[in-house]
């Protein structure tokens, strides 16, 4: 049960309200809106992350799910098990990635495996070996590597907040994936 009261959209600034409603008025946002002096900036960062076309949606959701699993965050897992399905991740793949070792299978292509290896090593040891970093970097390039790391940054930090505040998973509302102008010349998933 969520440990603090939700902030209702009508009690938010106009910008915070617009950002919250555009993202499904989820419990996570109505909880974090209690930090009203820093909430808007955090929402803007999320908007930028969700609309950047640099990472294939599928790859992004794989990183989110792996991070949520390793951070032991039921709220993120509850949301993104469903969001990932809309990004082309199959139910079997969701189960594989939210398990200790089953993700090392042929579900995933070599780039996805390199990124999952990096995510796993980083979140469990707080650093990454040369070989694992180099493979992900070689596959993705610098811009997309930083975006992967920023996804890990955001969702690991958010997991701490969600777990600390014990935010209830929304009954049915799920994060809407905003439209993005996907690159046609970029990475393939």
């Amino acid at each position: 049960m969520t440990r603090i009261a939700y902030r209702e959209p009508k009690d938010m600034t106009e910008q915070a309200r617009e950002l919250t409603l555009a993202r499904g008025n989820l419990n996570v946002y109505r909880t974090l809106a209690n930090a009203e002096k820093v909430f808007t900036g955090w929402m803007l960062a999320g908007q930028a992350a969700l609309t950047s076309p640099v990472l294939p949606l599928r790859l992004r959701e794989l990183v989110v799910l792996r991070t949520a699993y390793l951070m032991d965050c039921p709220y993120e897992l509850g949301q993104h098990r469903d969001v990932a399905r809309t990004a082309g991740v199959s139910s079997d793949e969701v189960n594989a990635i939210t398990s200790e070792a089953d993700w090392r299978t042929d579900h995933f292509n070599s780039t996805e495996l390199a990124v999952l290896q990096l995510t796993t090593e980083l979140l469990t040891t707080r650093s990454v070996s040369d070989a694992v970093f180099d493979q992900a970097h070689r596959d993705l390039g610098s811009e997309a590597t930083i975006e992967v790391l920023m996804v890990i940054n955001r969702y690991s930090g958010l997991a701490l907040m969600l777990n600390a505040l014990d935010v209830d998973l929304d009954e049915s509302a799920r994060l809407p994936i905003p439209a993005r102008k996907d690159r046609t010349d970029g990475l393939t998933s």
């Binding site: 209690n34 930028a48 640099v54 610098s142 701490l160 907040m161």
Partner: protein, 177 residues
Amino acid sequence: MSRIPLVDIEQQPESIREFMARRGNLNVFRLLANAPNVFVGWSHVVDELFDSPTFDLRTREVAILRAAHLQGARYELSQHIGIARKTGLTEQQIDAIVDTEDVDAAGFSHTELVVLDLVTELCNTRRLTDDSFAKARAVFGDEALTELLMLVSCYYGLAFVLNAVDLDVDAAARFQP
């Protein structure tokens, strides 16, 4: 040695140059600017956290140093130990936060000890017990407690990026809080 090249400041868009002019020409910004689509959004988080009057500077640095230490974030420590000194934290207190773990004898206020306990439990266990949460809430109330979580979250998450890239500490440039 940084595993990803750092961008040239002169070649960055105005919004990124403006942010760096205010906050410092730091390696971390030159690293993250490789991903300009997310850098600008992230910079709003930094600005709001450091412009907010909710915490005094010293309390904020206690939380940041503790999170940086528990994450093994050499880069964050290199920037924030100097800032912590300027906010009045003593060498004994800084050592207690980032090294000796002997916080009881270092003369911290009750509020600072609650911050240290909260950050330590959160970073080590990824959650808070009912008792720890209640204790922190009694000191801070809902708004400031949530903002404290935002601050910890920012440095905890960023530490993964910095450690993954093995970012070099800055020779002279310093963050402007």
